[in-house]
Amino acid sequence: MAANKSYIVPPVDIYQTDDDVILMADMPGIDKDDLSVQISEGALTIEGNIPPVELKGQKYIHRERRHGCYYLAYTLGDVIDPNKTHAKVKDGVLTLTLGKRDKAKPREIKIETVE
């Protein structure tokens, strides 16, 4: 990650279910081929590139949208099993499903009644 580059940090939702941790990131304009998701030694890195709008002789008269490189990094800890992870992109939203290790899943403990 070059120091002189500015990155866009997308807004994310992160939630847990019993089996998974799910991360959703808004990355409007992202194409699957311009996105990389990596897990290495407990660190999750998401990088993506949004190319600028192709101008066909037009001029910008108003500009709010950003383009460039998306970057997100998280430390996962030992709760996540990297082999139980999958990612999909739809309508500019990345959904990353990170499977929990069995030991990290909640276990229902039966309560016995003593008679």
Binding site: P11, V12, D13, I14, Y15, Q16, T17, D18, V21, I22, M24, A25, D26, M27, P28, G29, I30, D31, V53, L55, K56, G57, Q58, K59, Y60, I61, H62, R63, E64, R65, R66, K90, D91, G92, V93
Partner: protein
């Protein structure tokens, strides 16, 4: 070009700030949402305008575009996730109703507006009315 906004996200942000102040948590690092949603780009050439909006995670039928005279309105609602067993650790992606209005400086052809939604980006092309397009006028020079 003039934009008019009604922004539910800003109202939520304001509410959160007020609540934080009341609870004395004002010092915690806060996430500031963009003030207007969705963010828009507007391009122009002599034939018309292209309005581009970043609207990730929508379906076509959740976005409504209307044009009245020279004023175009983009509105819709981004549904909230209501998963029963979802325990949230972080929630930054906005949801709820949004509306933005663009006022064009020239007359436009409302019957020739075309919209396309791809990869979470909405592109609307709005052609200018013939009367608003620049015309080349030959100047006869008498010698």
């Amino acid at each position: 070009m003039r934009f008019m906004n009604w922004d539910p996200f800003r109202e939520l942000e304001d509410l959160r700030r007020v609540t934080d102040r009341l609870l004395g948590m004002g010092a915690r690092p806060c996430y500031t949402r963009r003030l207007e949603y969705p963010p828009l780009d507007v391009l122009e050439d002599e034939n018309g305008f292209v309005v581009i909006a970043s609207l990730p995670g929508m379906s076509k039928d959740q976005i409504h575009i209307s044009l009245l005279g020279q004023t175009m309105t983009i509105e819709g609602e981004r549904p909230a996730d209501n998963g029963e067993n979802h325990r949230y650790l972080r929630r930054e992606r906005g949801y709820g109703k949004f509306q933005r209005t663009v006022e064009f400086q020239t007359q436009v052809q409302s019957d020739k507006v075309e919209a396309r939604y791809q990869d979470g980006v909405l592109s609307i092309s709005v052609p200018k009315a013939e009367s608003a397009k620049p015309k080349q006028i030959d100047v006869a020079v008498e010698e």
